[in-house]
Amino acid sequence: MSKMFVIDPMRCNGCYNCQIACKDEHCDNDWSPIALPQPDTGHFWIGVDEKVRGSVPKVKVSYIVKLCQHCENAPCMEVCPEAVYRRDDGLVIIDPAKAKGHRELAEACPYGAIFYNEGLDVAQKCTGCAHLLDDGWSVPRCVDACAHDAIRFGDEAEFADELAKAAYLMPDRAEKDKPRVVYLNLPRRFVAGMVRDLEADEVVIGATVTLENLATGEILTKETDDFGDFWFEQVDAASYNLYVEADGYLTRVVEVDEAEADVNVGTLDVFESNE
């Protein structure tokens, strides 16, 4: 039965165990006929994209694990069908003997998951640790090394309940490539800030903060917490108006442009109304 990877960045602590375990397995170990050794550095058959989001003091770091998507319609296979094959379990393998000299494979992957080993003159990528699966292991090294089930590997049926919520790394390509790696909770954008009564030098607790998506008109609301903070998580990359309303204070409106990055709007000072 066809296997798949399910990756959940919300369960990722950014420890890089997956990347290290992959290197531990494949650098200086020859697993022919599945894979030749990976170069010691510079290649990431599984890698982590880390991104610092927001600004002081509303800062988060997101980690997104990336690897070969083991596509059903793999672009690499199209480019070089003689060197790439799919196993019965769905894992896409570059045959190291047949891929010798096929530099075009490294260019073919839209996910950047194929690397060219200059020393061995061969294109390489994640094998799903097929050599271990064939030797009785149930999961690849990266999955074994994850403490949080942020990377899982198994039969599609095991993940049936979650697949409805799953997304793809490159949604525009998903239909064409049919990746066997899916993602839960891919990070979107956040808007955060703090509301303060400047004159009283107090945070404002329980203020209503409204976020209006200027393109869709969608409205989200939050109340400021015990620290005067508000967080809107997993919102669209769009332009917004943000309204702050609290009893006895003048309403404030600020524009928030989330197109490029997450935004900490900072401290929003509110002032008493004269009513």
Binding site: C15, N17, K23, G54, V59
Partner: protein
């Protein structure tokens, strides 16, 4: 079994060293024994049925937390193959080219001159003759043993202090004290308000995770990073607990200058605070509670003494300065409105405080004050009530104490102490505090209070003054170190570089697996192997899941001519026997009457309860024994609940048995100490420290540095691991291709200084400078720079006023200790300036340093330092 799987053995890949095992790992060895295939998580259920375990479960708020059976360590353990096969391994005994024990010793050239290969026979003959000569000329106490600190955890083979077993039999030695370095502020400060021997942190932590799960509203992570510090000592359970708190809605509030790695993924709230200014923030919280009447007066009445004195100080009665949130804002950088919000939130909720040791909070000048104030605040909100304790994400079985595990405990904390051949004693008649080594070498005598050993009771701090050298004895003339990282791990490393070159040091012997840090100052270097090359026994009682004892088979043959720490000392012992007299039969004596490694492994096993469950042969066959969960663990009193409910029946270990907001003992013993006085205070400057943003020095050095336990090292360990170094926050490649230690700076400061990511900058003060690779990031607050400690030294100019390329910022940390009667290290929260450098100009200025043989993937390589290889 297939070829891919290999032959599985077990190794403890923790880094505490000295018989405190952790990070149990499976290691697969190639079937032809030629190499290590892989290091991977240990699955505790592979060799024992599920009925064996009595699996625990915490249920709270509709969720369930269970230990599972996969024990996951961190990337520091799983990348260790690169450390074993490092290009920097010392593979043969080496002698410094211009050190001639029969002629010129050229101490001034240590750190500069190179090495030649010699044989084990020649090396141990020289060492034996030098020991004999020093014994005869100066007496045995002139040999300083540096045999402590962290590193690989071995039992029979050390790691540290094997030489004490031998030197102790031939007239003793002077011991570098095993400083309470992970706990400085708590040790020197918190003990005086709440006792809590041996370390000053809350020592009753049973069932605190269950308690917080059921009753807690929030946890304050005060400088704590559960995603970094525990990696060397316990693995991923700390991380799992943070996810668990998120799952059940326990608020995680981080208070620190940086977005540390736990904050980055788990925090619900970050309160940035300037390094080592927590005391101001804490006092303003106390002020808010006092002025608003939102503290537990009844509790203090029955559980504390001296609170009125403390309140008088906080409200400004003593010095005319009320410790208001506005006052604190100027000191600590936290907006006063946020201080008040935090104080009010805390007063209304069940709040615990979590730690992982280390960082500015506890390793800066006057660190005893924030540590004491933390206990003071916990007391004001009813310390010990449900959901309100202090606990740790690390050291869950420290010193074998059953009371410090906050998770459901196993039936036993196994101790293989009978197998241990490392450092024999923590206190000797002749000792030197680790923080005072440079002065003790260059300018004896030195004086201090207490025996400065982690684990001693509070009262020991009042013993003294103690002196080195002992009356009538000689100064240090020989050093034997197996922990050669002083300069990048301690206070004022540049001063240590000068000390190691001092003319009084006639012989500097170092044994170590890798050519790094203090090794470059050695006269003789002995090649040591890694634990993958040794047979041993181990324990792991710090993974938070299952306590385990395991048999460590040898994975591979020793590389080169390397030997274990124990074996190296054995070779010296055998050579010393030629002198007869006190040296007669020395080897057999140091091995407790000729015992072997196998004997000690068996003795270690038999010291544990595993021996009553399985035979030693079965143990070796199955390779491990896991201890089930204790029956009835749910009934262990949670945290400080007994003190909370019955303070008279369950007193603290303070003189009064209560929380001492006014420490009667400090008042009695050190009546003139204004820096660590009876009441915890904000200390601006004093005892040799001017490290505040309001200090005069801040005109020239306006930034405070925060230097944590490193994310991608354990202190000085692992800096050359290629797989770690390519992780973006591990190293920053400069324009010259050199991988620099990252230096985080906020975009606001970077803009002012014209710095961008990838630039190289120098941080510096009067004590010298170190380089760093700039990371412009919102993960650090303005006015502060962040650089982990422990980077591998790569000196451009050595000694005080020097310059280091590696980014080993301990070199420029203050030499003065915590305060005059508290002898802790000060290695974070000090002033520096930041300046962009042109590395190509520097290379022209210092061609020798910049032309060292260098591999960007692993750093400077050992060949650079060797002039001949046979």
């Amino acid at each position: 079994m297939g070829k891919a799987k290999g032959r599985p053995i077990i190794k403890g890949m923790g880094f505490c060293a000295s018989a405190i095992g952790a990070n149990v790992c499976s290691v697969d060895v190639a079937e032809d024994e030629s190499k290590i295939l892989r290091l991977r998580p240990f699955h505790v259920d592979e060799g024992y049925d599920s009925e064996h375990f009595n699996t625990w479960k915490i249920e709270a708020r509709g969720h369930t937390f269970e230990p599972g059976s996969k024990v996951v360590s961190g990337p520091l353990s799983y990348s260790y193959k690169k450390r074993v096969y490092s290009k920097n391994r010392i593979l043969y005994p080496l002698k410094r080219v211009d050190w001639d024990p029969q002629g010129e010793r050229n101490p001034q050239n240590r750190g500069k001159s190179k090495y030649v290969r010699i044989s084990w026979d020649e090396a141990t003959q020289i060492i034996a003759e030098e020991i004999k000569r020093v014994h005869d000329a100066y007496g045995p106490l002139s040999i300083l043993v540096q045999g402590d600190g962290h590193g690989e955890t071995k039992f029979v083979h050390g790691t540290h202090g094997c030489q004490t077993r031998m030197l102790g039999l031939v007239g003793d030695y002077t011991l570098q004290a095993r400083q309470p370095d992970s706990w400085e502020g708590w040790y020197w400060g918190a003990k005086h308000i709440w006792g809590m021997d041996p370390l000053g942190q809350q020592n009753l932590q049973n069932n605190i995770i269950k308690d917080i799960s059921e009753n807690g509203d929030a946890v304050l992570f005060w400088g704590a990073d559960p995603e970094t510090t525990p990696w060397g000592w316990g693995g991923m359970m700390a991380s799992r607990l943070c996810f668990w708190f998120s799952e059940i809605g326990v608020k995680q509030i981080h208070i620190s200058p940086d977005v540390n790695y736990a904050n980055a993924v788990h925090a619900d709230k970050w309160i940035p605070v300037l390094p080592n200014t927590d005391a101001a923030l804490q006092l303003a919280i106390a002020y808010t509670w006092l002025s608003e009447g939102t503290y537990d007066w009844d509790y203090l009445d029955s559980h504390a003494i001296g609170f009125d004195n403390f309140a008088y100080y906080v409200m400004g009665g003593e010095d005319g300065i009320p410790k208001t949130p506005k006052w604190a804002e100027q000191k600590c950088g936290v907006p006063s409105c946020t201080i008040k919000a935090l104080a009010r939130y805390w007063a209304k909720h069940a709040v615990s405080i979590a730690h992982c040791n280390g960082g500015s909070f506890i390793r800066s000048c006057f660190a005893h004050e924030p540590a004491r104030l933390e206990a003071a605040l916990l007391g004001m909100q009813g310390l010990g009530k449900p959901g309100a304790n202090q606990f740790k994400f690390i050291e869950w079985s420290l010193f074998g104490m059953k009371s410090v595990t906050p998770l459901p405990p196993s039936v036993e904390i196994p101790s293989c102490s009978t197998a241990f051949r490392g450092r024999q004693y923590s206190v000797r008649p002749s000792i030197i505090p680790k923080t005072m080594i440079p002065q003790a070498i260059t300018n004896p005598p030195v004086q201090w209070y207490g025996h400065i050993a982690a684990g001693l009771p509070r009262e020991d701090q009042f013993v003294g003054p103690l002196t080195f050298p002992l009356e009538g004895k000689e100064r240090i003339h020989m050093i034997w170190s197996d922990a050669p990282c002083w300069e990048t791990c301690w206070n004022g490393g540049n001063e240590m570089q000068d000390a190691l070159r001092h003319e009084s040091i006639e012989f500097l012997l170092i044994q170590h697996p890798w050519m790094e840090n203090d090794c470059l100052f050695a006269d003789i270097l002995l090649p040591i192997n890694t634990k993958l090359e040794e047979e041993d026994i181990g324990t792991d009682s710090d993974n938070g899941m299952w306590n385990v004892i395991y048999y460590e088979q040898r994975a591979i043959e020793p590389l080169g001519e390397s030997k274990s720490d124990l074996e190296a000392v054995e070779e010296v012992a055998k050579k010393l026997e030629q002198f007869g007299g006190i040296y007669e039969d020395l080897h057999s004596r140091m091995m407790d009457g000729g015992k072997t490694v196998a004997d000690f492994i068996q003795a270690g096993f038999e010291n544990t309860g595993a021996a009553s469950a399985i035979t030693f042969e079965e143990f070796k066959e199955r390779q491990y024994y896991p201890f089930p969960t204790m029956q009835g663990w749910e009934d262990l009193p949670a945290g400080m609940i007994q003190f909370y409910e019955e303070p008279e029946r369950y007193p603290l270990t303070t003189p009064s048995g209560k929380l001492e907001y006014y420490s009667t003992a400090l008042a009695d013993v050190f009546p003139d100490d204004e820096i660590r006085g009876p009441i915890p205070k904000w200390i601006e400057e004093g005892d040799g420290h001017e490290e505040r943003i309001g200090s005069k020095r801040a005109v020239d050095y306006p930034f405070l540095i925060v230097s944590n336990h490193p994310r991608w090292r354990v202190h000085a360990n692992l800096d050359d691991v290629t797989w770690l170094r390519e992780i973006p926050t591990c190293k920053v490649t400069g324009p010259d291709g050199y991988a620099y230690e990252p230096l985080w700076i906020n975009p606001l400061d970077a803009g002012k200084l014209g710095l961008k990511t990838g630039d190289v900058a120098k941080i510096y003060n009067e004590r010298g400078g170190v380089l760093g690779g700039i990371l412009v990031t919102e993960r650090i607050m303005p006015g502060v720079v962040y650089q982990d400690h422990g980077a591998r030294v790569d000196s451009i100019v050595t000694g005080v006023g020097g310059l280091d390329r590696g980014g080993a910022n301990n070199l420029i940390a203050p030499s003065a200790t915590t305060s005059k009667n508290a002898h802790g290290e000060v290695t974070s929260g000090f002033l520096v300036n930041v300046e962009k450098v042109d590395v190509f100009e520097l290379a022209k200025q210092y061609p020798e340093a910049f032309e060292r043989t260098y591999d960007p993937a692993s750093g400077v390589v050992v060949d650079e330092f060797i002039v001949e290889r046979g």
